[in-house]
Symmetry: C2
Subunit: 236 residues, 2 copies
DNA sequence: CTACTACAAATGTGATCACATTATTTAAAA
DNA sequence: TTTTAAATAATGTGATCACATTTGTAGTAG
């Protein structure tokens, strides 16, 4: 029996597919948990603790944590601790501006490559989001929402912006969860529908507006949350 | 005597400072070599080969290569090879657009935080660039040029965009070297001077224009290079 | 001379260990 | 009871090893 420190992480597990290496599995698992806000800011993530919690050797966890660090998802303090970074109001604003800047650009540059199959796919994802919202599944809603955006931007085969966008998402992680959990169903669906309509009409400006509005809706909904200030830095 | 594979990498060495860990040293060394184009696209980078060339154990190289992979500086093929990715015309255009988008934004958001000390620092860097250009030192010019831009954008203490910009730089790495090597001295200095002037006058739009022009000059100079097509994918 | 097969070398991944550094607990003193 | 100091536990880093997979090279058959 390990008498270590009872590393009880409350993680949502993913099954490890056969073709993916252990480090990829660990990376995607941690990443998913960060993106849907399952790991709270401030608590330290340790290599050995996670390794024990996931029943793997420390090595894959080490690589996954390093990768998440360089993507900005977690922060390596100088005192040898890795934590989910605390949010500040200024950083939050910068991240939101960055989302709009990058995603509006990505959407416009994806538009010329959109085919009917892509639109069908997006509509399918959107209806999945609808289901997830109706059954109150916050994690699924958050992840499906990201899949919607990523699928749209990835239609451009020469795109290099998605990794940058995902880095921003990772840094917004815990907050996007709050946003989605408080979000009225109507807003999300509407904006995604607007985006799909713009795609069908090859309307570049309309697409940009829909994406921007979708993001701003999320931001606005965050700011209406009652105890939102408690999630910012400086408050325990 | 190791009879391995004579891993002769032509790297420009950096001295390992006392306070930095081995993996950080390896990372910065490889990064610097990639940024100034010392490592040509296509050739495979191996953990053991680099470890032998740098006289370190494979472990720090492993971490450095993983980090560079997730930053897009090198590409991990599905067969187990890590190479400097080959450039395509479309990808090049996307990267250039991304530079302008991100750096113009970064410059504008840095402007309110610029102090006289920052301007003095930028002028100092600019004169160093001048010296490097005059003595024909391509690597130094490339690195100093990046330092100019990074220093400018980093004036904003809440900035989160510099890591994204650096990722784009890394992906443009080998090409920026070509650009700088062919660049007329006048252009660089002029644009940087324009930027500094705009800073002094707190002229946001002027700053944006100067940065955009600086980037576009670099792109334009690349496109005038004679054998530039040889550096794109598809040509040996 | 070319194409396919088998053997050998090399590679990335994961595991385990040693060590210096840091965090946490325990004990003592005020 | 509070503060300080020593001792103990835990951590990240780097090194080495084992193993499955892939690459590269001879060697053979056609």
């Amino acid at each position: 029996m390990k008498t270590h420190k009872s590393a009880n992480f409350d993680l949502l597990m993913l099954e490890k597919t056969a073709e993916q290496k252990t480090n990829q599995w660990v990376y995607h698992l941690l990443r998913t948990n960060l993106l849907c806000g399952k790991i709270a800011p401030g608590i330290p993530l340790t290599i050995r603790g996670l390794a024990e919690a996931l029943n793997v050797s420390p090595m894959p966890v080490r690589e996954a944590l390093h990768r998440l660090t360089c993507e900005g998802a977690v922060e390596a303090k100088n005192n040898r601790r890795v934590i989910v970074p605390l949010m500040t109001a200024e950083k939050f604003n910068e991240l939101c501006e960055m989302r709009i800047l990058l995603e509006a650009h990505a959407a416009e540059n994806a538009l010329p490559y959109i085919r009917e199959a892509d639109i069908t796919n997006l509509e399918s994802i959107d209806s999945s989001i609808d289901e997830a919202v109706q059954r109150g599944d916050v994690e699924a809603t958050s992840l499906l929402n990201q899949e919607f955006h990523r699928s749209l931007y990835s239609a451009n085969p020469f795109q290099i912006v998605v990794p940058l966008i995902e880095s921003v998402w990772l840094q917004l992680g815990p907050f996007s969860r709050i946003a989605i959990s408080k979000l009225e169903k109507i807003y999300i669906v509407d904006r995604h529908m607007e985006a799909i309509d713009a795609l069908k009409r090859h309307n570049s400006f309309g697409l940009r507006c829909a994406i921007e509005a979708d993001i701003r809706d999320g931001i606005a909904s965050i700011k209406t949350v009652e105890g939102i200030h408690n999630y910012f830095k400086g408050v325990a």
